[in-house]
């Protein structure tokens, strides 16, 4: 029985190692296949016409950032008469509404509602939007002046329903946790761009995303009860087989949590929302959904399973063999070398390589010590997010923003 159990553990170790290896190779091959097309975008339309664009900015208690956000939207390199900026105040209790109303002179439309959440505020704004394209924008984000013009050409393909920009973290001097998130965002952007080549973009980010107005007529409005409504709408677009593209050159800067507590809260919300969304869209795991259905969605499930299996194996190893760490700590490292450690080291090395490629792709400058901290410390915070997510979901704790 004991030998059977040990064989099962060995099989599990090997399976996880193989799965990790396959995932790494797939992404590396994806990069090699599309590396020359990363910054490519369709040429701007020859007629030079600009479609009407409505920018919806839902805001709740954003007095610190709302003015900058509206200013950056007004500062877009885009014909002003084609821009329709709508701020939706979601029952703010601070000066957000007052500040937003000052922009009425610039043609900014301000709507108000009782606090009903971001999804409801977005839907409220979309209901009043007249643009052929609708952008959703967080009230703490800043657009680069060329952002819209860089994203527009992707819509020449009539099947493209949404385009995501390069959402980067707004730097905060002296805030290490912000710097580490900056690295993480670059990695996410880089991976998302590669995924767009196989029609597998999984999210239209809240900080800024551009949709065809028709998209909301075809797949419906934002899910007002969803914890990560920006992911849910994208999964809905994927389920309807619409294309979502990703731009590497349209830059949007966003604010991120500045302390561990807020970061943990944000990530647990993302994880819980993500878990529920992927469960809701489990029907996508079918060959009809191409790479998205046969690789990306299963990858999400398998990653979660693998994460908890690895955690379980590690806990089992410590509980079941306490004397190894007590009497032969160094020896156990030497004797422990083998297939699993070799593949583990390979996966870690490829993570570092991926990090380097991501940073290089965006021509960003990141201090080496921050990269090391990211790999050796920040990356492992996900253990906390995942465990807390699992605990909260198992205890059926109410999910809130």
């Amino acid at each position: 029985m004991r030998l059977l159990r040990m064989d099962a553990i060995l099989l599990l170790n090997y399976s996880i190692a193989f799965f990790s290896l396959f995932t790494v190779f797939f992404f590396v091959l994806l990069f090699l296949r599309y590396r020359r097309h990363l910054t490519e975008a369709p040429a701007p339309a020859v007629d030079g016409l600009f479609p009407n664009v409505s920018i919806i900015i839902p805001a709740r208690n954003e007095e610190a950032g709302i003015a900058g956000t509206i200013d950056s939207a007004l500062g877009l390199d885009y014909p002003r008469e084609k821009l329709d900026i709508i701020v939706v105040d979601d029952g703010s209790t601070d000066r957000t509404l007052e500040i937003a109303r000052r922009y009425a002179r610039d043609g900014v439309q301000v709507l108000t509602q009782e606090n009903r959440g971001k999804g409801a505020a977005l839907n409220n704004g979309i209901g009043c939007a007249k643009g052929e394209l609708i952008a959703t924008m967080d009230a703490d984000s800043m657009l680069s002046t060329n952002a819209l013009k860089e994203m527009l050409p992707f819509f020449q393909d009539p099947e493209v329903m949404a385009v995501t920009p390069a959402v980067k973290v707004r730097p905060e001097a002296g805030k290490l946790i912000v710097e580490l998130q900056r690295i993480e965002y670059l990695m996410i952007l880089f991976s998302r761009k590669l995924l767009s080549f196989i029609d597998s973009v999984p999210v239209t980010p809240g900080p800024f995303s551009l949709f065809r107005a028709d998209a909301f007529k075809k797949v419906g409005m934002f899910d007002e009860q969803n914890l990560v409504e920006d992911q849910e709408i994208c999964l809905r677009l994927q389920a309807a087989n619409y294309k979502v593209r990703s731009s590497m050159t349209a830059t949007v800067h966003t604010s991120v949590p500045k302390d561990m507590k807020s970061l943990l809260r944000q990530r647990v919300r993302w994880q819980r929302g993500g878990l529920r969304n992927y469960w809701k869209y489990k029907f996508l795991i079918r060959p009809e959904y191409g790479d998205f259905g046969m690789f990306f969605v299963p990858l999400n499930y398998l990653s979660i399973i693998a994460f908890f299996l690895i955690l379980g194996l590690m806990i089992n190893s410590v509980i079941a063999s306490p004397y190894y760490t007590k009497y032969m700590l160094v020896d156990s490292y030497v004797l422990g070398l083998g297939l699993v450690t070799i593949i583990g080291a390979l996966v870690l090395a490829s993570t570092v390589l991926w990090l380097w490629l991501s940073v290089r792709a965006f021509k960003e400058k990141i201090p080496l010590q921050n990269l090391l901290l990211f790999v050796l410390f920040y990356w492992y915070l996900m253990v906390g997010y995942n465990v807390l997510t699992a605990v909260k979901e198992i205890r059926r704790e109410p999910a809130t923003w």
């Binding site: 029985m1 004991r2 030998l3 040990m6 064989d7 060995l10 190692a17 193989f18 290896l21 396959f22 190779f25 797939f26 091959l29 994806l30 296949r33 099947e159 196989i198 029609d199 087989n241 619409y242 294309k243 060959p287 009809e288 959904y289 191409g290 790479d291 998205f292 259905g293 046969m294 690789f295 190893s317 079941a320 063999s321 306490p322 004397y323 190894y324 009497y327 032969m328 020896d331 156990s332 030497v334 004797l335 422990g336 070398l337 083998g338 297939l339 699993v340 070799i342 593949i343 390979l346």
Partner: protein, 216 residues
């Protein structure tokens, strides 16, 4: 849109994964073999140390002038033997490497050092406690925990009772030495613990092991 599956990418990823996985298995096996060889070499070296201690004892047939030397030699040998035991257990438990011939050589070494302990006890009046632990890797679900409890009991009584020397044998491995000791102490089930010659059949709790060690 018409969706596609990137079969060539998956096929290549699968191919590379299989290649690297096989290389990993091969290198992992090489490392395990190297470790086994290193342990075998250590077993041989310690055997020589045991042999030289036994020789010294034969030369000093009736005297006890070398007792402090024997005692320190035995301590050193026991520490080395125990370290090898941990390494073999680690290879079995964590790496699933079962090297039966090496394990049998290790049991011979343990038996040699057990005999040496006995002789030093007789010759030099050494008051250490000798604990022999019989287990089975194949037919005993509680043996692993029993092994931990024995070590824990030894640690908990350190300095409170005379030194405890532990010798453990897998009784189902077909080792002639282990079988001989089993017969000597009438061991019929696993786990079984022999403390200073007294057999305790079946699982013992940590507290009862401590009590037995205290009563000597």
């Amino acid at each position: 849109m018409e969706r596609k599956i990137s079969y060539p990418l998956y096929a290549l990823a699968l191919l590379f994964s299989i290649i690297v996985f096989c290389i990993g298995v091969y290198v992992g096996n090489m490392i395990d073999q190297y470790n086994q060889q290193a342990i075998a070499k250590e077993v041989e070296n310690i055997s020589q140390k045991v042999a030289s201690a036994q020789l010294l004892m034969l030369l000093d047939e009736n005297g006890s002038s070398f007792c402090p030397v024997y005692s320190s030699q035995l301590d050193s040998i026991n520490a080395d033997v125990e370290a090898i035991g941990y390494r073999l257990s680690y290879l079995e438990d964590e790496k699933h490497v079962y090297d039966v011939p090496l394990k049998k050589s290790y049991f011979v070494l343990e038996a040699q050092s057990y005999l040496l302990s006995n002789r030093i006890k007789e010759r030099c009046g050494d008051n250490s406690t000798i604990l022999i632990y019989f287990y089975s890797n194949a037919n005993c679900s509680s043996c692993r925990q029993q092994g931990f409890d024995i070590l824990q009991a030894r640690d908990d009584t350190l300095g409170k009772v005379p030194l405890v020397r532990i010798y453990s044998f897998d009784g189902d491995l077909g080792s002639p030495v282990a079988n001989g000791l089993k017969a000597q102490f009438n061991v019929t089930q696993y786990p079984s613990i022999v403390i200073n010659g007294a057999l305790n059949s079946g699982t013992m709790s940590k507290d009862s092991i401590i009590a037995a060690l205290k009563s000597g």
